[in-house]
Symmetry: C2
């Protein structure tokens, strides 16, 4: 299999702006080419668009707007992990030899139709994601004897970290008390426990070994890929205190990269809601079962940014189709020692965790410098 | 690059039925597993859904409904060539080694939101595809001195061929006079010159060399792939009497398969409208320029089914996301000598041509037995 690396990226602030999806896509691609003016658009073999937007033919549209005439061009959708699905697809085009340079552009509007999964009848009338996250929260608190205050630390930490990220939607810090006093949405979830849908875009170019070495000053390599879909319906999950799809995806990715979870220096994980962060850490086996919250508290107290350095979905906002790409860009910046005040010490191996629909599917990527 | 073959397929009649997209998808997948009960669903590594439907998360939904828990799962959209884009993506997952068995399921409803490209401002108020096809028709007739009656032969031939296809929406034959007397939609286009949007589904499983040899009695191999996007906007086309994206995609596919266009025994091409068939034949260089219509007349008169044996889009109907997959299934059946009354003599090398939006993008596949 050909080696695949990250050649360049572009990202713009996450906002609540009301813009058309093609303009949003264009924002980060323009930023990408501004940062990487040495990349000749004629050599881009594929343009993949990651979005839940209902607009059609967005890859040819983006290509026309940016002066690219690719061979491969299409959109990819899988709700909240559309971004990493697109990156894995780009990886396969390069690893197979069908392409040498692939642009992956992800974007979403704040009012994305992907925010609620209408199909999932197992959720009854409670189709909004706050209901599955309530289920996870109640189960996790009960099993490990945690309180709402304990879980609030996730939001406190991630907002603090987002303050160092110029592209994050949030630039405020909050205390545990602030989280507890924010609007109560269900028995178990408050407003500040939630990531918010937003308008945003993130783009990345992947390349073959030769192209990456030629075009990137600090090549970062994708060395591990794992994906798993358990179901589409929320109640097909076998546990509400762990994420089976995450566990399996992580095992596959670590095996492919020949790494142990202990080798991971920095993680971007899918904290759609506060409870997702400890459960994901435990499902990735980065933390022992029931110890995720304690690990998060310890990291927060020591000002260690190694989990969700950019502020996570809670701090950054969650433009569905862009999120997995933004996570991958953050790990790239970390491994390039290019993450300014968010920089984690000795970051050589990083992990991206991106999931959809109550963790019914997950992607895990391992990146190395 | 690992060799990639076709392991099995399923297809159901194209209709005007009003059904939900997940049920439509399921129809052909059920048919696939009915025809291939020896394929163990546990070994399917990826499920790719090809559609223009606005529903989200369809790959995990289809996976849950069919008892598959894939690693890779997402939807792919690129208007009318979503189907072949999905097949090329499946190919790359297998050729790269990320997957050994990939299910590609395409489906569309008769009222698909992909039927009109809202974005294309270059079409002015004339966004419906009958307007770009009128432009092509007028240009082609003028350049090569053909009449509407000359072009009507495409519809006559393809309806005749569709009559031998139990899954085609049409089972009537028409004369040139019938085509001329059908409702006039523009100066240059009549109702029977058009393919019609419809409800339909087609599914295919691709496999690695080992899996294909093990699971298929008559393996068919994808030996050539070519794709090209010129633009999204119709007026960026440099010619209205040829298809540049088709020409380039075909050159790439033939080079990859080490074939000459003269080696092709049977072709499924994208006859969205009558004029598309001669222009596509010429852009593929299967016919000399300006001679496409004469070739089609000759084939019709000798009852030779080698172009669009299943009846083309005009005879079969055009469920956008399913079309490219249905075309690939037809070529597979032809190369397996399994196409009943539609069978072409000595079919060993076949070609699929699938395009979108006034031929602004095209896919060409070469298949061999």
């Amino acid at each position: 299999m050909n080696k695949v690396g990250i050649v360049g990226y572009g990202i713009t602030p996450f906002t609540k702006e009301d813009k058309k999806i093609d303009s949003i896509l264009l924002d980060s691609v323009k930023e990408l080419f501004k940062n990487n003016s040495h990349i000749n658009r004629d050599y881009i073999d594929a343009v993949l668009v990651s979005t839940n937007d209902n607009s059609k033919y967005l890859s040819p549209i983006l290509s026309e707007m940016t002066g690219i005439q690719p061979q491969i061009a299409h959109s990819i959708e899988n709700l909240c992990n559309s971004g990493t699905n697109s990156i894995v697809s780009a990886y396969s085009y390069i690893a197979s030899g069908l392409a040498d340079l692939v642009l992956v552009a992800g974007a979403e509007r704040y009012d994305s139709p992907g925010s609620v999964l209408e199909w999932d009848a197992s959720r009854g009338e409670y189709k909004h994601p706050i209901f599955w996250s309530s289920f996870f929260t109640k189960s996790y608190k009960r099993k490990y004897n945690f309180s709402d205050e304990d879980l609030a630390i996730v939001s406190v930490k991630n907002h603090k970290q987002a303050k160092e990220n110029p592209n994050a939607i949030s630039n405020k810090t909050f205390t545990v008390e602030d989280v507890m006093n924010s609007k109560q949405l269900t028995d178990d979830i408050r407003l500040l426990d939630c990531s918010q849908p937003c308008t945003g875009s993130a783009s990345i170019i992947l390349g073959s070994e030769e192209k990456t070495k030629k075009l990137s000053e600090k090549p970062i390599w994708i060395t591990g890929i794992g994906q798993k879909t358990i179901s589409a319906g929320f109640t097909k999950n076998t546990s509400f205190t762990s994420m089976e799809s995450t566990k399996q995806a992580c095992e596959t990715a670590l095996k492919m990269s020949k790494k142990d979870i202990k080798n991971i220096d920095v993680i971007e994980l899918h904290d759609a809601f506060s409870v997702c962060e400890p459960i994901a850490l435990e499902s990735l086996r980065f933390s022992d079962k029931g110890n995720g919250i304690n690990m998060i508290k310890e990291l927060h107290n020591t000002n260690n940014f190694k989990i969700n350095p950019r502020g996570g979905l809670i701090g950054c906002g969650h433009p569905l189709g862009a999120t997995g790409i933004a996570q991958t860009i953050e790990i790239t910046q970390q491994l390039q020692s290019n993450a300014s005040k968010r920089q984690v010490d000795n970051a050589n191996v990083g992990l991206v965790h991106n999931m959809s629909a109550a963790a019914t599917s997950s992607t895990v990527l391992v990146l190395e410098n």
